[in-house]
Symmetry: C3
Subunit: 265 residues, 3 copies
């Protein structure tokens, strides 16, 4: 049971972990800013000549394949492997898995060759990954599956990692425990990149706390509670987004413990 | 005559068309968000290995040469041709045409090789294109021309497409009819990428309604009415931009029909 | 002494200088928008086929190595050299100097091969540069140094340029005079890219006024006074950032002269 997510929150505020991102150019600015607002310290760089040095001074690496290309996929592999070699945790956001053959191939390579510590996607992406990785019985290659809990448990067990499936309800498992998280607001779906931003926040929490299910759950709760706060004062997606940064920046340990809706499955 | 632009608006809200963008990295985030606020579903990807699969599941392709480079121009050509082959409409925003030789060359190639369904630019870019494409008598290569109506009519006729010329007043023609649109606010000129954002909204409308002058006119009207609404509550370009997303998201069919200033020329 | 920074402010509003950027994809949108709000006219392009034509019509070139890669470093060198050949001022923002070997190598090349008119970084980056460029006695390669004034004076003298060191206090020197600037707000540190944005504003001021210490000081003062104004009405980093654009856009010559905290050292 995770009764005090604020334990993990406090570590982030204390350590300001350096989170190295190789991410897409659509939402990169929002990722940098939300990482700061969560307590982290973001850095973005993706040249193969630059990433290994950057990994060495980082507390976490976030790989996001939103706008993948040959050059950056190459850098993701270099960066991810260097991170694992140096004991730096790797968060992988499998954006668009299932949508194209190239994305499926790249997701497969990153998962098999890097072995990320956290694999994250929306429920469709995670189901699809489970299918092509053959980790779940009963999930065919179209990504259809009945039970998110089983999918993430099995996928996490097979790869010895934490799996996050996002949507109206979010699910987290480390292969042993599984959690259902129900904070959040529908306006998150009206802003491009809330999923990417969440990965950056997870990066900050894992960077400060190490790899375990607690920090990942705390990161998701913090982000989604901030979204609830932001939604209250907003007139639509534009003011909501500005408010999301304000709200996460202003979130207190008390808010987090009091408002987090975390249920062990 | 277009008396009820809301007809096209309603289709976008109903279908949430998938709009595949290959666009510049300056305004790409705003393009994604405004596309959502208009009712569309944006996707951005530009690797040559990824674009053909993405085109196949898309309802419209938006090509924008704001920060063109050899790699993405190549992907634009592949994507544009695949779209035309699959009956997916293509919107081309000729950002910076006339400013450099490379831009002129690329614009020329995209127009001749892809044959976009909608060609869009500001009045200077469109005049310039008309000049180098030789579609209008009396427009020299410096892009000077007297009559926007003639330019867009002739260019649209020559290429069998819809031409959009933006500025304080916007013009649209399909080679037969020509329209003058007079909604909008001066603050649009103080935010980078309002032109790019408009292309994304046009993409959503064309993706949901098919290629004809009505959806294009409706998209421009919706965007510019939202800008008028946003300007009212704003203190400058920063709050105006956040408000633009809110306003387009909140725009109703009634607003659109009542406030649109559309005049057939 | 710089008693009336508004002299330089007025030139920017009058001339709307075209500022060509080769910059990082994290903060590029904010750079474009803040450049507009300062009175400048931004353009971003980075393909080697495009940059020389763009430089020819520009009033200033801003090079920023935030997300450098081989392709864009190549374009920065082409662009920077073309600018110098054509008498167009070059501002170089040495983002991340000291963090990786590749960044140090690229910073060194740009400074030696382009000879920028303005070299800018935060105090750590500038100290580091001074160390590897061997321009200051007593600065070792770890970038440690006691006296920012001596560092920027010596670096500016050695390269015949203006050096800007940013932080809680900002310093500017042209190798003869040195200034200490104390406007600004702590929230600037909670928004990704305020340093990059400042470079774009410096680009606008240098583009309109030519290269001298006055316009650079005025640009920094204008930006930081706007930050102070924005901080007053903000609830956190999100609303602060929107407010920063509004405030710089609304800044008057009178505000600037009255509120600027400039001290000659």
């Amino acid at each position: 049971m995770i009764s005090e997510p604020s334990v993990f929150f406090r570590e982030v505020q204390l350590k300001h972990p350096l989170v190295h991102h190789i991410t897409n150019y659509v939402t990169v600015n929002d990722c940098a800013n939300i990482c700061i607002c969560s307590g982290g310290s973001p850095v973005m760089t993706d040249d193969r000549n630059d990433v290994e040095d950057m990994v060495r001074i980082s507390n976490c690496v976030v790989l996001n394949m939103g706008t993948l290309n040959e050059r950056t996929v190459d850098s993701m592999l270099i960066s991810g492997k260097a991170a694992k070699k140096n004991g730096v945790p790797v968060v992988f956001d499998a954006v668009g898995a299932g949508a194209t053959g190239y994305r499926n191939e790249v997701a497969h390579r990153i998962i098999e060759e890097v072995r990320p510590d956290v694999i994250k996607g929306n429920s469709g992406e995670i189901s699809f990954l489970a299918g092509i990785l053959g980790s779940v019985r009963g999930v065919d290659s179209t990504g259809k599956a009945e039970d998110t809990k089983d999918i993430i448990l099995d996928l996490a067990k097979k790869y010895g990692c934490i799996v996050v499936s996002t949507g109206k309800v979010d699910y987290v498992s480390d292969g042993k425990e599984a959690y259902e998280l129900t904070n959040g607001d529908d306006l998150e779906g009206c802003v491009s990149g809330t999923g990417c931003m969440l990965s950056s926040v997870i990066g900050a929490y894992v960077g400060a706390n190490g790899v375990s299910v607690g920090p990942v759950v705390a990161a998701i709760s913090a982000f989604n509670i901030a979204a609830e706060h932001a939604a209250k004062g907003s007139k639509g997606p534009g003011s909501f987004k500005a408010g999301l940064f304000d709200s996460l920046y202003s979130l207190t340990a008390e808010d987090l413990d009091k408002e987090a809706k975390i249920r062990e499955l």
